[in-house]
Symmetry: C2
Subunit: 225 residues, 2 copies
DNA sequence: ATCTCGAAATCTGTTGGACAGGTTATAGCT
DNA sequence: AGCTATAACCTGTCCAACAGATTTCGAGAT
């Protein structure tokens, strides 16, 4: 783990300044040089933090004028914090139940043939990975993502990607725990995915939603019986 | 718009390198100094871009070794693109239907008294803003966020925040269009929210989910009849 | 006293060089 | 061939400096 970047600390410190001093939207932050001497680091470090804050939509820099608060992080801090550092892990599965079930339903009704081919390709990759007994969580997530994409609604991708890092962490943990999966588990995982993909192929919305919900439920049980 | 940062261009260029050269996950990127001379900028600029890429989960830097591809940006580009630049706007409402309806349902069953007080406070703020005939989309979104928080599951906040910028854009556009809202519309918006909050207060899961879904549906109709 | 205008102070954006502390690759030795 | 020490390389950090934009403030005019 390489979490030892000074700019990470600077990022958190600036967020703390905005929260504790209750800087309103539009307020100006201390200058980069001032922040640097406050934190005891160089200006380059502060800049790395500010660039990230700007790309996260929290601050906005105006050349010659300063950096300004664009949206209060205290009001939407969750988006910038790894889910794993928040309580109630596995909570992302609760969201996936509703989010992905609806995505499967919509994918079944609205998918184009091109999107369907994309989903089938993801299914093939997952099958190959599972049958070669390799860690397949990347292919697993990728298939789910292709299904979300098949809705034609980018908002599903946005929401799914927001949970990405946490889902990946959970899945990887699951792979680490059960390093050698018995063949019947592999067959089950494969069948679950195939039912979902099959329902989308057959343009059966309710079947797709139900299959997805069941698959996620079983997946959760496999991770935490 | 301040799009005039060289590191923004460097960010895009590195993404392009990963995509075009088809660098697999785990592959090593060119060194910072090499990238700097490739782009004709200083190393500090490349670092600003790499820090953002790392915080976006695309790359990972190992001290002394180099920067490595952590996940292919081409496969999950949506998370790093404003929803407004993608087709099918108003699509975020489709996600909100399922996401927030489930959040309301869970909030009704699991809310603590403290979370309930937080929701009530948001309701008061929205009421004050609406009755003073001021633009109230900030208070509106904030109330919805407090409800998501009342589930006790941070994953709902993560997903909601991911849609934040698009929802805000849509709502602000709605305010701009109908600059002077008739009193009956204000009363309706207030009542819709009050029904949702009331169901959560009464710990009525189905009522809360239904009220939220209805409210979002009406809100969507108000924006795009 | 107030307004206007221009210059100084301030701030971000960017550069180049430097060094510390890691990692990788290589050349030399056994 | 196998092993080891060392050189080459890489990220993380700091410093000093300058360009270009903006804010501030005071001097002069009204």
């Amino acid at each position: 783990m390489n979490q030892t970047r000074l700019s990470d600390h600077a990022y958190a410190s600036i967020v703390e300044i905005i929260k504790s001093r209750e800087l309103e939207v539009g307020a100006r932050l201390p200058a980069e040089s001032r922040l640097a001497e406050m934190f005891g680091v160089s200006r380059a470090i502060v800049r790395e933090a500010l660039v990230r804050l700007a790309s996260d939509g929290i601050t906005e820099a105006r050349r010659g004028a300063g950096s300004f608060v664009k949206s209060r992080p205290s009001e939407r801090l969750a988006a910038f914090m790894p889910l794993s550092e928040l309580p109630s892990t596995l909570g992302s599965y609760e969201v996936r139940f509703v989010l992905e079930a609806e995505a499967a339903r919509l994918a079944a009704t609205r998918r184009t043939s091109q999107e369907m081919a994309h989903v089938e390709e993801g299914m093939e990759r997952l099958r190959a990975a599972l049958l070669s007994n390799a860690p397949a969580h990347a292919e697993d997530m990728d298939l789910h993502r292709r299904i979300a994409a098949a809705t034609g609604n980018p908002a599903f991708l946005i929401a799914f990607d927001a949970l990405w890092s946490d889902v990946e962490r959970i899945m990887r943990a699951g792979v680490d725990i059960s390093r050698s999966r018995p063949p019947e588990v592999i067959a089950t995982m494969l069948r679950e995915h195939e039912i979902v993909v099959g329902a989308i192929r057959a343009q059966d919305p309710e079947g797709a939603a139900l299959a997805m919900r069941w698959h996620l439920w079983e997946g959760r049980r496999r991770l935490m019986p």
